[in-house]
Symmetry: C2
DNA sequence: GTTAGCACTCTGCCTGTGAGAGTGCTAAGC
DNA sequence: GCTTAGCACTCTCACAGGCAGAGTGCTAAC
């Protein structure tokens, strides 16, 4: 979409219209706009402006003789050119700093849980957070003997994240373990977690029986040392808020679908790559279930991976506040985690 | 509630009515019942029976000249006296056995996640599952040196569940690790996970600095090797199904509340102590948000704690199927986890 | 005790009507 | 030429009335 050229007056009217609609959730009438302090125009003149905005498809009327409502394009113009992100208040910033410093010592899963909780509380919207995607790259895998017939497998990702689990491997010599570890590192080193299982299954056919038993045990562990399911987990909080929006009155079912599908949410979040904060409005979302929602997503590097968080709500959302918040959070997280040794 | 004495005929009519209503979600007319093969009565006679059931408050009519609908009491009578739990089919049983055996090696959190997933898929309803409350009892704790300046801590619960995590412990000799492990086992062996942190903090004051550093590292790990937060977690799956029930058409908001509140769900689940399978119908639920829902909950001992799972749906649910399923699952889980060494 | 018949009642749906909101257009004013 | 006041027009929403259909309750006959 090229930048629709708007006059100053058109921009002002569009901004007023959007801000009023975000507050009221109802079509905005020309007289309501004309009544605004900053507008010294009659409702008739405003109507002329509205007509031109409608021609550019930035607003529409639900039906003849109703007020106007912004279109996705209208919101897009607003987000790109008219609004300025609001910096969170001192109180909120302090609160965030405090929480984040508490998160430093924890694992990625806890960070994601806490993040979604925090964002949901601050926005009163559904908040989602994903731990670094399955794109995590395996750095090394160790097998440490432990007691009789047992071993601990430790997976280290390039991000520095570690995950360990104990295996039961009977009738396996320490030397076999070492050989298994050597092979595993050769096959899987540098690979993505998501591909690991396939690579492993491919390679192990040629391995000696005892070595193979170790690998079988590794694959067997359902807690998913190697499964992408665990390498990428989705947390959300604030479902209740979604249901309170009038626009989703009768469409609860589709909200249920979204909440239920972690893959869906992760997908929706992962789609945007550009910039620290991405705004995805209505139809811009790939998922058809989200065609009437907007998403403000932020990301932060943590080790080699990308953690993500997002606010999800109706297209009629408080973009300046949410963009400001997500930007601030992303910034702080990035600082904290890349500054750490 | 004392057992309302019902004649055979009344029982038959009540059962037919409930089963028809569960299928159709609509008030059941006298003629529909009279049309059933097993009833050789006219609709007029059936109406007489219905009147007597209505007097006992087992059924009601939404309004004059509508069909009848079961009350909570009606469902209760049905569950207690009229229905027989359905044993899951061979296919389903096989599937469950397979899944459960896969779960044996995993930690309690994964078990809960998988359980909720399994139950939701088999019932097409919202399924919730809670890991054993912080009651899990510690069996032993091992510290295995690993690379330079690192160690892996392996916590084994009496239930057989294991959790491991790697610690960074610089300037600590292997002998220090051994001493730390010895002390940890002495202090924490046999204690509940919930108490572990306090016990550890109490004991470590007297420990030598290098040993203490190890323990500090252990406490520092927020992923919660010892934290109760992880000792009890709620998982659910199948939110989408809730929204599809006609009875919750306009009440999405209250569903949102329930989904959002893990404490709520855990509470609802924890309330019933008696028997392996508890059925809680409509108003019987303590939570006001669940007054129009029923819950079929099962529990299984795992180590010293209690794991729980439940199906949640409208009061109009398939009690025989769900009770049968939950009973089977509880049984199998109990066997598997108490049989293990 | 059971049943057929019938009047009664309540819902759901459709229709029509009136008020209210908001527009589009036109003609007059700056 | 831009702005504005005035007015007719349109569309929604809410409410009332009417009609068909479903299902009941009651009564009288079997």
């Amino acid at each position: 979409m090229r930048t629709a050229e708007l006059s100053d007056r058109e921009e002002k009217v569009l901004r007023l219209l959007i801000e009023s609609h975000v507050r009221s959730a109802r079509p905005v009438s020309s007289s309501a706009i004309a009544a605004a302090r900053s507008v010294a125009l009659s409702s008739a003149t405003v109507r002329n402006v509205l007509r031109s905005l409608a021609e550019k498809e930035l607003i529409l009327q639900p039906h003849t003789s109703a007020g106007r409502v912004p279109t996705d394009r209208g919101y897009r113009y607003y987000v790109d050119f008219l609004m300025r992100p609001t910096k969170p208040s001192d109180r909120v910033r302090g609160l965030i700093e405090e929480r984040i410093s508490g998160l430093m010592k924890t694992d990625e899963d806890t960070i994601a849980t806490e993040l979604s909780r925090m964002v949901s509380r601050l926005t009163k919207e559904l908040a989602v957070s994903v731990t670094p995607a399955a794109g995590g790259v395996l750095k090394r895998l160790d097998l440490v003997p432990f007691g009789d017939g047992r071993a601990i497998a430790v997976v280290t990702l390039r991000s520095g994240a570690e995950r360990s689990v104990s295996l039961s491997v009977s009738d396996v010599e320490d030397a076999d373990l070492e050989e298994a570890a050597r092979l595993l590192n050769r096959w899987l080193g540098g690979a993505r977690v998501a591909e690991a299982e396939k690579l492993l299954r491919g390679g192990m056919r040629r391995a000696r029986p005892p070595v193979r038993r170790v690998m079988d045990a590794l694959l067997d562990v359902r807690s998913g040392l190697l499964s992408p399911q665990h390498a990428r987990s989705v947390h959300y909080e604030g479902a209740r808020y979604m249901f309170r929006h009038p626009e989703f009155e009768g469409e609860a079912a589709c909200l249920g679908e979204i909440l239920d599908s972690e893959e869906m949410l992760a997908d929706a979040l992962g789609a945007h790559s550009a910039g620290p904060v991405a705004v995805c409005i209505g139809e811009e979302n790939r998922l058809k279930e989200m065609r009437r929602m907007s998403l403000v997503a932020g990301s932060y590097r943590i080790g080699g991976g990308m953690g993500r968080m997002a606010v999800i709500g109706p297209t009629r959302m408080k973009y300046p506040k949410f963009v400001g918040l997500v930007r601030f959070l992303s910034d702080r997280l990035e600082n904290v985690f890349t500054a750490a040794p």
